[in-house]
Amino acid sequence: MMGRFMRNTLKFTTLFLAMTASAALSAGQVEVLHYWTSGGEAKSVAELKKMLEAKGHVWKDFAVAGGGGDNAATVLKSRVVSGNPPAAAQIKGPAIQEWASEGVLANLDSVGKAEKWDSLLPKVVADVLKYKGSYVAVPVNVHRVNWLWGSSAALKKAGVASMPKTWDEFFAAADKIKKAGLIPVAHSGQNIWDFTTFESVVLGVGGAKFYDDALVKLDPKALTSETMKKSLETFRRIKAYVDPAAPGRDWNLSTALVIQDKAAFQFMGDWAKGEFVAAGKVPGKDFLCAAAPGSANAYTFNVDSFAMFKLKDAGAQKAQGDLAATIMGTEFQQVFNLNKGSIPVRLNMPMDKFDDCAKLSSKDFVETAKVGGLVPSVAHGMAIKPAAEGAIKDAVSQFWSDDKISVADGMKNIAKAAATR
């Protein structure tokens, strides 16, 4: 991990030196910082580049791989501090607010009004992208996080008829799978994936309203309630169905266990679908997707977005506006999301080219938005500030990996972590 980090730092340093040397940028150039470097993602970015070049702008790629965006964030900080920000950078969730409060983000309201973004985005999503009522970032896609993926072959072998809809069904199925000699749950024992599972459990046990109170608003009463206790008990029960090699395993290696039918279930966002499809598996036939038990009428969203930085050059500003409009355009939303495995963030898009899992996701996205079941994912940095988020993740991971911590103590630790500022 660090090797790649160092390499990137070096690469960046050279790039940076070259940049400062050619300080006079040509008009209409957009430099875009992103961390989409893997197969399907890179293809999606290439599409965006093509569309922008068709509008007569120059695209300058600034990809920083690795660390789930941590490396890119580090590079971005040094660029902004040195007064030379890129035109756009991949930033999401409350981090957008943090950057905006530093006063470095550009106001996108003129583009947003012309393109009627307010009517195209659910309010909860739009709020993430706005700072003091003005758009400062533009959304690219929606990932649903509260998925349960299943291997058809493994379920069949264990005699499980369908994907479980409740936690009771889930544990009954897990027992059967264990008896059949398979791994019931392919888990990845890393901070972020521990929490991905945990937030699906909270959503399934307590519902969207409770999720919002406890994990988004961090209400101490909700965090120490009976419902939270039940969530933690359910969360711990899952651990008995996880194989011993899980700690530290990367998420895609866990997905591989499901792909190879060695494991039956995985709690994971819909980027997992990309792995299944890349392995030649067909959704609905070789592998199954369902909302995590008990959370069918709720939806934890993870929206990738680009924040735009204030620029001095008028040509670059124009290009920046065009970039924002292009990203929200129907053409890009469709092409990009077909490649990435997510769904368009824009409402009322035709979904006929997408697969069954994406159609279900899109249907639930629209429906949950109406009834208040649409909530931001905490695990994926959509809901709370990084400091509190990190502290809660620590507490949850500690509870998961150390069986000696009682449910009551676990709850106390989480509530204490939630108070971190």
Binding site: M2, A95, W99
Partner: protein, 293 residues
């Protein structure tokens, strides 16, 4: 004119290194110290002076205490283990064995690897479902059980094992050099007096090796305080944060959690720890010099 130039030349040559060293070592240390008394979050921010609040926050965090405890366990076992194993290896190699050159290279080779490689290799070896445990079970020893790496109480000892494996050869090389420097006639004299071999080693050779032991401890202990790459590659701080050490703590707080002030405070604490070891050593060294020469 030429004489003054000659006298200036060494200073001129040394100056750039001095300036760079000053700016990039001591300058950055000071900067770090300044950051640790500000409320800096995502970006450095000097507007708000908060005194020692970041340090108070630091010592209230469970995670920091876990990191400190791990550093204690790791330093003691890693330095002690590498020292003892290195000494034993060196003594064995010193018995005029055949193919000594070959064996010496074998033992020293791990030092040529980076900690990243060591960490990754040991991650696979210690992983219960693909490494040692699986191998033993496949060979027929089905009750064999070794899952330290995935248990939060024992994972730190896996880091120690990998660290010792990497550094024991280095300690061996230092000790071997020390052993070779001992005058044969002393040992022969002891043998004439009828001293047994273990006694010779215990009463004569080890005391002579004292300076070597000292410098080995110094090198290894500062390696252990800085340890970052080994932990990152082997466990990434997990399970949970049970193998966190101060260096990984600092990195996470400063660069992924947007708490630069807190990260700077932890870095200052690390600096203080290193200084607590190095300063007394330097002091004793520098003070001893005038008498020696």
């Amino acid at each position: 004119m030429s004489r003054s130039f000659e006298s200036l030349l060494p200073k001129l040559v040394v100056a750039p290194a001095f300036v760079l060293g000053f700016a990039f070592i001591y300058g950055l240390m000071v900067w770090n110290g300044v950051l640790s008394v500000t409320a800096s979050r995502m970006l450095p921010n000097y507007d708000e002076f908060v005194g020692l609040a970041q340090y108070e926050k630091l010592f209230e965090m469970d995670r920091w205490w876990v990191a400190l405890k791990n550093l204690g366990i790791f330093s003691v076992l890693y330095v002690g283990g590498a020292l003892v194993l290195g000494l034993v290896l060196a003594i064995f190699l010193d018995q005029k064995v055949r193919a000594e050159g070959f064996l010496r290279t074998v033992y020293l080779y791990p030092m040529a690897l980076s900690f990243i490689v060591t960490g990754t290799a040991w991650k696979w070896i210690l992983n219960p479902s693909m490494g040692l445990e699986k191998l033993m079970q496949d060979l027929g020893w089905t009750s064999f059980h070794f899952d330290w790496l995935v248990q939060s109480e024992t994972a730190i000892y896996c880091v120690v094992i990998a660290g010792i494996w990497q550094s024991a050869g280095f300690a061996m090389a230092l000790f071997l050099a020390g052993l070779r420097g001992i005058d044969d006639s002393i040992i022969k004299a002891a043998q004439m007096d009828g001293a047994s071999l273990p006694r010779i080693y215990w009463r004569i050779i080890l005391p002579v090796l004292r300076p070597v032991v000292f410098s080995t401890i110094l090198v290894l202990s500062h390696l252990s305080i800085k340890s970052f790459d080994l932990v990152m590659a082997l466990t990434a701080g997990g399970p949970g944060f049970s193998t966190d050490v101060p260096a990984t703590f600092m990195f996470v707080m400063s660069f992924t959690r947007g708490q630069i002030g807190l990260g700077a405070a932890s870095a200052t604490m690390m600096l203080a720890t290193v200084a607590a070891i190095v300063v007394p050593y330097l002091y004793s060294e520098l003070r001893a010099k005038p008498h020696d020469r």
